[in-house]
Subunit: 337 residues, 2 copies
């Protein structure tokens, strides 16, 4: 394993990401938060959201509809609503620039929404909700993606992989955080099975005739399935509506049309909600304690809190650095920049 | 079937519910919205939320901690936040009284929350989010319940059955609506299997040692499971936090302690969110059309939209009335009021 990988410090990961993105033509303002989120993915051993994403980012930067020097426009719409027009750059700079206004509004009003429009999106949502929790707030974020997923009982794509992430601030240590796709599995995992020539488990996908399949290729050209049957399918539909039409942005059906075969990151909107337990609660101290009792009851019976593994990897990476596969380093060095 | 049931008009269902509730000592103000929600359940062929609930309501009304004449106190907290202290009566009168302020705030500010505190809760959430959609808004509602459900990977109860409901307004016809428990199945369904002496499918529950079981009795004394594995478990935990500590109310662990074996309806809080597509969107007409295209893509491939069966039953019931099992009518008439 170690012979096939390169040890790097977290700082070196950040520098490599930044260098690659700016060499591909991304503005320094856009590249900063993209490099940061890739670094956090690598640091937390979320390999699929780490340096692995760099080649895809370069492909997106070169997409004719992408604006590598986009400057987000932040609008203070109401006491509970911030809008960020990402201007067809990445979502991340828009999020970073709008976050202070979002958290200030949530503290003042109790809750607030950030609607990000016209953004290319490839990143995990947990770094964003974690930042909201660090501000002492509960965060909830969701996006559509591309129409790759069939609804429960259906035979062809209508929904995206539609991730949802949530974080709750805790008085000590890391927040309670989850971030999951509402598809049964990430699309990348099916691709990895295809590359390895391995069958996929039942329940991940259907073929182009709508029949259950264990072939990764058939599922990729047919449709993925949601997690949790009709409940997961309903939830995924809600995410389409909330992070799409509600905020005046594209559904996954529209986003895949917009991509027009370029295989860039999906372009659509993002909805981020922040809730202030101090402002919405009655006795925040007692409520925080009740939440801690819930976490203790979960963890005390051997059930893992979501993100626990990620936080353990983070501590390890900050001390020892990360191991990046040589094959991935080769792919990054081979990018013609 | 028809010999074992009684045909009633929807109006007769409402009158029976109202008569029973007020005879049990519930104030007329409290009884009105409770009878209404029971009538809607029966009308929509959600038998488990129809007249079937009356005996349980009577038991709750007689619980010493319940206030049968509670008058909710509505507080205008901020431009996006309404609080309703239900005063240990049912949630429904508090919801009814706070709804106009919630919808007005959502239209003005883009989004708004209603935090209902100190309420006894037994009702489906779809009638509430449907009312929000009738006002042209998207509605999202959630509550904890009693700690009957084990977290993914766990062995004993920590979570409630924690329902979540969502509605999206449509230009014509019924809204898009779902309402589901985050447990694999409703607790009542496991009870029905116990009564019928039938085994339950795997995945519904575990015994008191945390082992998978197909015995309904063992699952009821052990723990129920969530839908969708670790994703459903994470979502259920989010509902605990959002409709509990966030708004200063009880978790399912606290609520079952509060009940202290009385088997009344769970007492806790409820979080209701309303979002205005006109205020949060950019081109509401185009967005509404994008949502309709999504629904057409789902329904056009033979996948049922959630609540479709319910709306069909509604049309039938309003024309032909409903069939109520004689055994249920006998139970209602046998209530000592």
């Amino acid at each position: 394993m170690h012979d096939d990988s390169v040890r790097m410090s977290v700082e070196e990961v950040r520098a490599l990401a930044l260098r690659t993105l700016t060499a591909a033509g991304l503005s320094e303002a856009q590249a900063g938060p993209v490099a940061e989120v890739i670094t956090r993915g690598e640091r937390d051993a979320c390999a699929s959201h780490g340096l692995y994403r760099l080649p895809g980012c370069v492909q997106t930067i070169r997409f004719e509809k992408f604006r590598p020097d986009a400057e987000p426009v932040i609008e203070d719409v109401s006491p509970a609503l911030v809008r960020a027009d990402a201007g067809y750059g990445y979502s991340l700079l828009a999020f970073e620039r709008a976050l202070p206004l979002l958290t200030a509004k949530a503290r003042e009003t109790g809750l607030a929404a950030l609607a990000i429009n016209n953004c290319f999106h490839f990143s995990a949502l947990w770094p964003e909700v974690e930042m909201i929790a660090e501000a002492g707030l509960a965060g909830l974020a969701m996006t559509p993606s591309h129409a790759w997923v069939a609804p429960a009982g259906g035979t062809r794509p209508a929904l995206g992989t539609n991730p949802i992430a949530f974080a709750w601030p805790r008085p000590e240590g890391h927040p309670y955080v989850f971030d999951f796709a509402t598809s049964a599995i990430a699309r990348g995992d099916i691709s990895l099975h295809e590359i390895a020539g391995k069958p996929i488990p039942e329940g991940w996908g259907i073929d182009s005739e709508g029949r259950p399949t264990t072939s990764a290729s058939e599922a990729l050209s047919g449709a993925m399935l949601t997690f949790g049957g009709h409940k997961g399918s309903a939830l995924s539909t809600m995410i389409e509506l909330m992070a799409g039409p509600l905020i005046g942005d594209m559904t996954s059906l529209q986003s895949i049309d917009f991509d027009d075969g370029a295989k860039a990151a999906p372009c659509h909107g993002e909805l981020v909600l922040a809730f202030c337990p101090k402002r919405m609660g009655l006795d925040p101290e007692a409520s925080s304690q009740a939440a801690e009792t819930l976490f203790a009851t979960i963890a005390g019976q051997g059930a893992r809190l979501p993100s626990q593994r990620r936080f353990e990897a983070r501590a390890r990476s900050l001390k020892e650095g990360v191991q990046v596969p040589k094959t991935l380093m080769d792919r990054i060095h081979a990018l013609e920049l």
